[in-house]
Amino acid sequence: MLQVSLYRYNPETDQAPYMQDFSVDTGDRDLMVLDVLELIKADLDGSVTYRRSCREGVCGSDGLNMNGKNGLACITPLSESVKGGKLVIRPLPGLPVIRDLVVDMSLFYAQYEKVQPYLQNPTPAPAIERLQSPEERAQLDGLYECILCACCSTSCPSFWWNPDRFVGPAGLLQAYRFLADSRDTATEDRLAKLDDPFSVFRCHGIQNCVNVCPKGLNPTKAIGHIRTMLLNRAT
C-alpha cells in the first residue's frame, strides 16, 4: 500500500487547507502519479479535485508539486517521486488555490499574453509559405515545445515575489521563441516592451525552471539571450 498525503481545500466548506492521508493499493506497479490520483478519485474519494487531459505529457494540465518537486503527474512514475514509502502531493506553489490541487493560473496566462506570443510580420505574405532555412528553424528548437504547464514559473522565487511584474520563465521562453524566429519582424518592439527592471531582470539565474521543466527545456538560457539582446540594444 502506498501512503499518499494530499493537499485538500474546498473554499465552500474549509476555513483553511489541510493534508489528507490515503492508502492506495497500487498492486506494486510503477504507476504514474496521475494513475494514483485517478485511483483515489474512483475508489476512495470522488471529491478529490485536479486537472488532467492527455495523460501523456503534452497538454500541460496536471502540473503538480510531488514530494517537493514540480512536474507533470501523468509522466512522473512513482519510482521517481515516492520517498520513504510516501508521496506528498500539493498544488503548484505560489498561485492562489481554487480547490484541492487546482490553482488559479490567471496571472501565469496574463504574463504569457503580455509577451505577444504570436508571429508579427506586416510585410505581405507570399503565395506559398515564408521560406526558412533548417538552421533558422533550428533556432526555435527548445522553445516552441513549451506546453504552458507552469511547472517552471511556479518553482521560481522571483515569480513568487513579483508574479504581476516579472514575466517569469514560461513567458520569457515564449518571448524568446518569437525573438528567435527569422520570420518575425517585431524584435525592436518586443525588446522595448521587456526593457524595464522587472520583466526580464528579476531573473537571478536560480535555474529551478530548468530543473523542473517536464519537456527538458531551458528557460534560463532563453532569458540569457534576451538579456544580451536588451544590453546590446542599450549600447
Partner: protein, 570 residues
C-alpha cells in the same frame, strides 16, 4: 479554434466555450503531421492525387465533393498557418518538410509512395494548436475557459439558438444565446477501454446532438491506430513508419510484406491494424502473452530519431520503458479516431433528413473537426487528414457564418420553456440523491465497447453488447454525484461526460450491428466482403427509437471526374 479565429477576424462577437484551457485540447497530441499537396517534397504533387488517396482510403463512402474541397483548398489553409507562425520543420530549400504517411500515392496510385504530410517534427498537433490559440489571442477572441457546454437550446422552430453552459470553477449555469453554434468538440475515444485519446475525449458534442434529435452518421466507423503503446495506449505516430520504421512479429518477420506487398507498413490504417490482430491471433504475437507486436526503429539511427521523432523517443522511454534507439517498441492497435459524427455539408452546416429522405439543414448548428462527418474520411481516415479536416472545415464554417451574419440571420428567441428543457438533464443530476457512482459505470461501458465492438466484429456478439448497453442506460441516466460542491466540481462534469459517452457508444453499437458488410474500419467476421449493392452509403443513426437509415454518398465533385469504387488493395 480555426472557426473562432475566422469569426474574430471578421469583427463579429465570438466566444469560445472550452471545458479545458484551449491548449489542453486533444489536437495537442497529434504527432506526425498534416497531409496536403503543397508540392514541397515533390514539385509535381497534385491535390487530385491526394483526393484519389483519400477517396480510396475512405473505402468509397467519403463524400467526393467534400474531399475535393478539402484537398484543393488545403494548400491555402496550410500556408495561412505558416504565415501565422506555425514552426514547421524545413527542407534545405527552406520549404515545409513533408514526410511519407500511410495510404499516400503519386499519380492516382500509379506512381509509388508519396511524401505529403507536412510536419513540425513529431509535434505537429502541439504546434498547430498553440499557433491557433496564439492567433486567437492576437485577434482578441473571447474565451470562456473551463466552462462546460451541457446541452443545446432549441427554439420552437427546432433551430439551435445556443447552449446551456456551466462554469466549472463556480458552478454558475447560464444560457449562452447565439445565432450560430459551432461544435468543435472532438472525438469520444473514451468509449473504449484502450484508447490513444485524452481523458477529455468524451463525445460531448455527440451526446448533445443526439439528445437534441440530431442524427449521427457512420458511427460504426472507428479507427484503431496500429501503433498504440502496449499497455499504456499512448500514440506512436505513423510518421515512424513514414520515416522507415516497420512492424515485426515474434519471429522478427516484417509481416506487412505479406498483407500489403506494395505499401507494406504504409498501407491504410485499417489494413495494418487488422494484419496485426491476425498475427497475434495466429500465435505470432510478442511477449509472454503473445498479445502485441513490435515497431522497429533502431535501424534508422539515433540522429534521425532525435531530430525527426524526438517526442516518440520521449514517450517510448516513459511509457514502454524502451529506448527506440536500441530496441523496438511494443505496440497494439488502439482506438484512435471517430470517422463518424454529425453529418454536415462543406460549410459545416449540420444536416438531418426529412420524411422523404432528403437532406435538411438544422438552422443554427454547425460542426467541424472530429465531431463532424462531412464526410472526408468515410470508412477509414488516412493519417494526417484529421488536422487538415479541422483546419479546412473550421475555416469554411467561419467563412460561411460570417457571410450569413452579413446577410442577416433571424432566429426566434428561445422561450423560457425551451431553456428549461435544455437544462433539465443538469437539473436532474443536481437533484438526484441516489444512484451509482460514475467510475464503475464508465468502466463497465468501456469494457462492453472494447469486447463487443473492437477491430473484428460479429453480429451475435454485437447483439449481446447492445443488450448489455440497453441494461446500462438507465443506470447511466441515474448516475449520482459524489460531490455536490459548486467549486470546481469535476465529479459533476464526469457524470455529464459519462452520459455523452453512453449516447456515442450506443449509436456506435446499433449501427455497427446494422451494417452487415465489411468496409474500411468496420470488419465483420460474419460478413467479410464489401457490399456495394446495399452499403455504398452512409449510415444514419436516429436516437429516437434507435433507428438506422441510409444516406447517399456524394459522387459528384465539381472539377474532377468521379472516382469510381474499386477493389481496395495496397
Amino acid at each position: 479554434m480555426r472557426a473562432a479565429l475566422q469569426l474574430a477576424q471578421s469583427g463579429y462577437k465570438t466566444a469560445v466555450i472550452s471545458k479545458v484551457f484551449p491548449t489542453r485540447s486533444h489536437t495537442v497530441s497529434a504527432q506526425g503531421g498534416i497531409t496536403c499537396a503543397i508540392a514541397s517534397a515533390d514539385p509535381q504533387d497534385d491535390w487530385r492525387w491526394h483526393m484519389y488517396d483519400t477517396v480510396k482510403g475512405s473505402d468509397y463512402i467519403g463524400d467526393q465533393d467534400a474531399i475535393e474541397y478539402m484537398c484543393s483548398v488545403g494548400p491555402e489553409a496550410i500556408f495561412e498557418l505558416e504565415h501565422m507562425g506555425l514552426p514547421f520543420s524545413r527542407t534545405e530549400e527552406g520549404r515545409i518538410y513533408q514526410r511519407p504517411f500511410g495510404g499516400q500515392s503519386k499519380n492516382f496510385g500509379e506512381g509509388g509512395q508519396a511524401a505529403r504530410t507536412c510536419a513540425a517534427a513529431d509535434r505537429t498537433g502541439h504546434a498547430l494548436l498553440h499557433t491557433l490559440y496564439q492567433n486567437n489571442i492576437k485577434n482578441e477572441t473571447v474565451f470562456f475557459n473551463e466552462w462546460f457546454a451541457v446541452d443545446l437550446v432549441k427554439n420552437q422552430d427546432g433551430a439551435v439558438v445556443g447552449v446551456i453552459a456551466i462554469c466549472i470553477e463556480t458552478g454558475e449555469t447560464v444560457y449562452v444565446k447565439s445565432k450560430a453554434t459551432v461544435f468543435a468538440t472532438g472525438g469520444a475515444g473514451r468509449i473504449y477501454a484502450s484508447t490513444t485519446n485524452a481523458h477529455i475525449n468524451t463525445g460531448d458534442g455527440m451526446g448533445m446532438a443526439l439528445r437534441a434529435g440530431v442524427p449521427a452518421q457512420d458511427m460504426e466507423m472507428w479507427q484503431f491506430h496500429p501503433t498504440g503503446i502496449y499497455g499504456a495506449g499512448t500514440l506512436v505516430t505513423e510518421g515512424c513508419r513514414g520515416e522507415g520504421g516497420y512492424l515485426v512479429n515474434k519471429d522478427g518477420e516484417r509481416f506487412m510484406e505479406r498483407y500489403a506487398p506494395n505499401a507494406k507498413d504504409l498501407a491504410g490504417r485499417d489494413v495494418v491494424a487488422r494484419s496485426m490482430v491476425l498475427e497475434i491471433l495466429e500465435g505470432r504475437g510478442c511477449g509472454p502473452n503473445g498479445d502485441h507486436v513490435k515497431l522497429k526503429l533502431d535501424h534508422l539511427g539515433e540522429e534521425v530519431l532525435e531530430s525527426r521523432l524526438p517526442g516518440i523517443c520521449e514517450l517510448s522511454r516513459t511509457f514502454a520503458h524502451v529506448d527506440p534507439v536500441k530496441e523496438p517498441i511494443p505496440v497494439v492497435p488502439t482506438c484512435h479516431y471517430m470517422m463518424g459524427g454529425i453529418p454536415t455539408n462543406v460549410h459545416g452546416q449540420a444536416l438531418t433528413v426529412d420524411a422523404q429522405g432528403n437532406d435538411a439543414l438544422i438552422p443554427g448548428l454547425y460542426a467541424c473537426g472530429e465531431v463532424a462527418c462531412v464526410s472526408v474520411h468515410g470508412a477509414n481516415r488516412l493519417g494526417g487528414n484529421s488536422l487538415l479536416d479541422l483546419v479546412v472545415f473550421g475555416r469554411a464554417s467561419g467563412l460561411f457564418i460570417e457571410k450569413s451574419l452579413r446577410e442577416g440571420i433571424e432566429l426566434r428567441d428561445a422561450s423560457q420553456t425551451d431553456i428549461e428543457v435544455a437544462g433539465a438533464r443538469l437539473e436532474a443530476l443536481n437533484a438526484r440523491e441516489q444512484g451509482e457512482q460514475v467510475s464503475p459505470l464508465r468502466h463497465e461501458l468501456q469494457e462492453i465497447m472494447q469486447n463487443h465492438f473492437g477491430v473484428f466484429r460479429t453480429g451475435e456478439f454485437m447483439r449481446e453488447g447492445i443488450s448489455k448497453l440497453a441494461d446500462l442506460r438507465e443506470r447511466v441516466e441515474n448516475v449520482a454525484l459524489a460531490d455536490r460542491s459548486n467549486a470546481f466540481n469535476t465529479s459533476r462534469i464526469e457524470c455529464l461526460e459519462l452520459q455523452n459517452l453512453f449516447e456515442t457508444a450506443e449509436a456506435t453499437a446499433v449501427v455497427a450491428e446494422a451494417r452487415d458488410e465489411s468496409r474500411g474500419a468496420h470488419a465483420r467476421e460474419d460478413f467479410t466482403e464489401r457490399d456495394d449493392e446495399n452499403w455504398l452509403c452512409h449510415s444514419l443513426y436516429h436516437s429516437e427509437g434507435k433507428q438506422v437509415s441510409k444516406r447517399s454518398v456524394n459522387f459528384t465533385p465539381q472539377t474532377v471526374e468521379t472516382f469510381q469504387p474499386m477493389a481496395r488493395s495496397y
